[in-house]
């Protein structure tokens, strides 16, 4: 199965699903996940770099497929509860409705693009009155103080947060949080105190840093570490407060809402 998706098409998980179903005539229950993964990896290869957004979106869709597929493969399907059967239909109808809605707005976006392109060819006049009317121009700076200007500058120059990566996306790699926890539990009691920056300095992928951070929060929740931040936006210091005892089977919260 060749998945030949261009980057412009490869926008989100539903795009992929739509693409698979509409263009490739794929029955998702027949899809070999390993084929999808192979196709995906080829695509990534072609892109020359890993786009985290694409990667997480892919993980999301892959996990959705696994979930649906798993339902088919569950042992004892013959004994399946009528409620479960109904739930499966409901889920499938929901997915269908979402796919249809997704396709609808995808097509509308094409119209928007055309409208915007056309509109871009015209430039509005926004010149204002000439100097003959200077004294009648509303004083826009009425009420503007140096302090307000200062605040506006800070607002304009404060770095905008990077696109949010929430657990919606992180969920498929849940296991890694446990790994990160194990590493932290191994490392932190020995050093006692370390900045979060140093704790993550060896990590290359943003996702790894996030997983570390999740693990750290978990420890914090368990009362095993203290987090200190001397100043706003300053480094976060991680202090081990869990003692020397060996910790096994630390309960990890299920992040999947």
């Amino acid at each position: 199965m060749a998945v030949d998706v261009s980057t412009s098409v490869y926008e989100g998980p539903f795009d992929l699903l739509l693409h698979l179903i509409l263009k490739e005539q794929v029955d998702i229950y027949e899809v070999s996940l390993s084929h999808i993964v192979d196709a995906y990896l080829e695509e990534i290869e072609r892109l020359q770099h890993l786009d985290l957004d694409l990667a997480t979106e892919f993980l999301l869709i892959a996990s959705t497929l696994v979930e649906l597929k798993a339902r088919r493969l569950l042992p004892g399907r013959d004994d399946i509860d009528i409620d479960d059967e109904l739930a499966l239909w409901e889920e499938r109808d929901l997915l269908l409705a979402r796919l249809l809605e997704c396709k609808t707005f995808k097509d509308v976006a094409g119209v928007f693009s055309k409208l915007a392109d056309d509109a871009d060819h015209s430039f509005p006049r926004a010149v204002g009155a000439d100097e003959r009317f200077a004294e009648l121009m509303p004083d826009l700076m009425d009420g503007v103080t140096p302090a307000r200007l200062h605040r506006a500058y800070l607002k304009a120059t404060t770095p905008k947060p990077a696109p949010r990566i929430d657990l919606f996306h992180v969920a498929p790699i849940r296991a890694s949080v446990a790994d990160a926890l194990a590493e932290l539990i191994d490392e932190l009691p020995r050093v006692g105190r370390m900045s979060f920056r140093r704790l993550t300095s060896g990590l290359v992928e943003r996702l790894e840093v996030i997983v570390r951070f999740l693990a750290l929060l978990e420890l914090f929740k368990q009362g095993l570490v203290e987090l200190e931040q001397a100043e706003r936006f300053g480094d976060i210091d991680v202090v081990w407060t869990g003692g020397d005892g060996v910790l096994d089977d630390l309960p990890v919260d299920d992040y999947d809402g």
């Binding site: 229950y29 707005f105 097509d107 976006a109 871009d120 010149v127």
Partner: protein, 217 residues
């Protein structure tokens, strides 16, 4: 239609613009409309023109439509358009190469597919929350919405009354200007875009639970 400048001798200048409206009040009103829109920095609503020129809104709209026709007929390099609820002068689209050369940084940034899709959802479904956008696009729309907000195409219009009081987003007049339309009513009806039966069927087939699928494997 204003193709009548040849019908009558032009003893009055204004008649060239509204030849079928010999009412001098209208001529004065038309000229005032031109002057006001010329000094405006954003589209001037009919209501404001009506109020300033002490004319009914319908008269203003009629005169503006005639004026726009007259400009188009005369082949001017500018147009009078109704955008985002108001009238403005803008350059004729076919002259964009010259204008871009003049403005240097005149080229506008194009919107990404993700931005357009998100914008489409918000335009048709407003007001709605981030979570509602996410449920349609299947992707966290946070970054895209922030970009659209920064560009002024969407804004927070309300708070959800439910628990959590999620921010509800809607489109702005800037959005209408970006698309060059007068109001949301100018957008094509969404029903025109609902996928046809064959698409629904294809999707249904792809998602079917029917055990018959096993037989095909």
């Amino acid at each position: 239609m204003n193709d009548a400048p040849n019908d009558a001798p032009n003893d009055k200048d204004e008649e060239l613009i509204v030849p079928d409206q010999p009412n001098p009040l209208d001529a004065e009103t038309v000229r005032a409309i031109e002057a006001i829109i010329m000094v405006a920095v954003e589209p001037v609503p009919s209501e404001l023109l009506a109020q300033l020129l002490e004319q009914p809104i319908v008269v203003i709209d009629r005169l503006c439509a005639e004026l726009a026709d007259a400009y188009a007929h005369a082949g001017h390099g500018f147009q009078l358009t109704k955008v985002a609820g108001g009238y403005r002068y803008q350059t004729h689209p076919d002259l964009s190469p010259y204008v871009e050369r003049f403005l240097l940084d005149g080229q506008r940034a194009r919107m990404s597919g993700a931005a357009l899709e998100t914008l489409a959802i918000i335009a048709y479904k407003q007001p709605l929350s981030r979570a509602q956008v996410a449920s349609i696009r299947g992707v966290d729309p946070d970054g895209v919405i922030r970009t659209l907000q920064a560009r002024g195409y969407v804004t927070e219009v309300a708070r959800d009354s439910g628990p959590g009081q999620a921010i509800l987003f809607g489109t702005t007049p800037t959005f209408l200007e970006k698309l060059g339309i007068n109001s949301l009513a100018d957008l094509p009806p969404i029903v025109e875009f609902v996928p046809g039966a064959e698409v629904v069927e294809a999707l249904e087939h792809g998602l079917r639970i029917d055990p018959a699928a096993d037989a095909r494997g």
